[in-house]
């Protein structure tokens, strides 16, 4: 099967700081890929290169290729807005827009041209149901999104990302700010989303990676050290660094 995303010899610099080094990886379609590695190794950077959010960082420079369905996303002919619709992102800190709960979810579809009110209502309801928020908020859809708890906010952000029907969902430590209950809900959600679309999730929590992912990639100092099916990687890591990291010797 062709990979959904293929990264070839990716190099990223922030100014003179060489962060990702010759990184190549094939990300399979409709699977969950977990990216693990110690702090500062470049996990977030890798995610940001996959939907070109990295271009918002001043002084960032990207070399190498990033193919989405075989097409290089850094090709100047690629419409950025369409790329980001196809490759959605969930941030580490929940970042609802300063709008109502409804508008948060409806904003993406609206931007991409959905005008019909009934269609929007339907999208909002579906997406909120997927993240298990519908019953909690259906009576206060017009209230500010900031009135939700942090965990609810993060689920709202996931619903918002799903509302534009992405093919890939990038999640940067989506549970790191959350309580155990919300973490569990989101982990379940990741597992089920992995059947519909391609999910790339960065996590510091090794157990979480084991629980939610089909594949795991271990990055160390900007290089891809080991990559394989999650079961295999956790049971019999080939590289000593991977073994040490998984067993918690450092990180």
């Amino acid at each position: 099967m062709d990979p959904k995303i293929e990264v070839r010899e990716l190099n990223v610099w922030y100014g003179n700081h060489h962060v990702l080094k010759d990184l190549s990886i094939k990300i399979p379609e409709r699977r969950v890929l977990a990216i693990i590695g110690p702090s500062g190794c470049g996990k977030s950077t890798l995610l940001m290169t996959l939907n070109r959010m990295i271009e918002l960082v001043e002084g960032a420079r990207v070399e190498g290729r990033c193919l989405l369905d075989g097409v290089d996303i850094y090709n100047p002919g690629i419409p950025l807005t369409e790329l980001r619709r196809r490759v959605g992102m969930v941030f580490q800190k929940p970042n609802p827009l300063p709008k109502s709960i409804y508008e948060n979810v409806a904003y993406g579809p609206k931007v991409h041209g959905v005008k019909d009110r009934r269609k929007l209502d339907e999208i909002v309801e579906n997406c909120l149901k997927v993240v298990g928020l519908w019953d909690e908020v259906k009576d206060r859809l017009n209230k500010s999104a900031f009135e939700l708890s942090v965990g609810q906010q993060q689920r709202l952000c996931i619903a918002r990302a799903l509302a534009v029907k992405p093919e890939v969902l990038l999640m940067d430590e989506p549970c790191s700010a959350l309580d155990p209950m919300n973490t569990r809900i989101i982990e379940k959600l990741i597992c089920s989303l992995g059947r519909e679309l391609t999910v790339v999730v960065v996590t510091h929590n090794i157990q979480q990676a084991a629980r939610v992912s089909d594949f795991t990639a271990f990055i160390y100092l900007g290089r891809l050290v080991e990559y394989g099916p999650t079961d295999r990687l956790f049971e019999s890591p080939v590289n000593r660094l991977t073994r040490d990291y998984i067993s918690g010797e450092f990180g």
């Binding site: 939907n51 959010m53 918002l56 001043e58 950025l80 807005t81 369409e82 790329l83 980001r84 619709r85 959605g88 992102m89 941030f91 800190k93 970042n95 609802p96 827009l97 300063p98 709008k99 904003y107 993406g108 931007v111 991409h112 900031f146 952000c157 918002r160 990302a161 534009v164």
Partner: protein, 274 residues
């Protein structure tokens, strides 16, 4: 000695503060005291020819309305460009410099410039339009710097959230940044209004006349304003020191003070919402 130090100095230092607050109160009381007696409905609604101030009051509103309506989009657009589109470019630097310079230009020079450029060079004459354009130049820096501050306070995470959904930049600005910055933008506009309301020197020879029949019917006609009418009344009319001038001064003072209080309330109320 040491104790005395610690006790006496705060008291001593609060004296100048008290003096300043007393100045403010004195201004309000001395203008307000006589002004309130002179202020009545017929003064406000009757024409200047019958001893009223109707034309200059409405003229001031015309002045305000036009200048602010023109300056707000220009100022906000400049701020959006500076914060959202032109990080650290050479042009950005020049624009900031220009805005800072404009902020320091005395209003009488805006008056001279407005007369030479708008009235004469562009042939607009002494008119409402010339006044508007002159005042736009004058309050542009107020609106720009207030808006820049308001827009920079909008958290980056809002922009990231919208951009990550695939929203084009201009939509992020329109849908997310500007609404989030709205209270700050409003504050800067209100301060601009306050500045225009009390301005005399800049409209002295660009748009105002002491006396005219009725209100201007086109933007190319001059206009009466509270400040200019009061100015001439005080400078050129000996013995005009009771009644009407106090009422006009009180109106101006009331307008400017309430605008500033409003701006203050907005600023406090919306401080750090996120």
């Amino acid at each position: 000695m040491r104790r005395l130090d610690e006790k006496l100095i705060p008291v001593l230092l609060s004296t100048p503060v008290a003096v300043l607050i007393l100045c403010l109160l004195w201004i309000v009381v001395s203008i307000g005291g006589e002004g309130i007696q002179a202020l009545n409905w017929s003064l406000l609604t009757s024409s200047v020819l019958e001893g009223g101030i109707f034309e200059s009051m409405v003229g001031t509103l015309y002045m305000l309305g036009g200048a602010v309506a023109l300056a707000t989009p220009l100022g906000v657009a400049t701020a959006v460009y500076l914060v959202e589109y032109a990080a650290e470019s050479r042009l950005n630097h020049l624009i900031i410099q220009a805005v800072n310079n404009l902020a320091g230009v005395p209003s009488i020079i805006f008056g001279l410039f407005g007369y030479a450029f708008f009235c004469r060079f562009l042939g607009l004459g002494v008119s409402l339009l010339s006044g508007w354009l002159t005042l736009v130049c004058m309050i542009l820096p107020i609106i720009v710097s207030g808006s820049v501050e308001a827009i920079s306070m909008v958290p980056t995470s809002f922009r990231e959230a919208a951009l990550a959904l695939g929203a084009p930049k201009w939509r992020v600005v329109k849908d997310v940044v500007l609404p989030a910055a709205a209270p700050g933008l409003a504050t800067s506009v209100i301060l601009g209004v306050g500045r225009v309301a009390g301005e005399t020197a800049a409209i002295l020879f660009t748009s105002s006349v002491y006396l005219m029949r009725g209100l201007p019917s086109t933007v190319l006609e001059p206009v009466m304003t509270l400040t200019y009418h009061l100015f001439v009344l005080l400078v050129a009319t000996p013995g005009g020191m009771t009644g009407k001038p106090f009422a006009m001064a009180l109106l101006l003072l009331g307008l400017v003070v309430s605008l500033n209080v409003l701006a203050y309330i907005i600023r406090v109320y919306y401080r750090r919402r996120w």
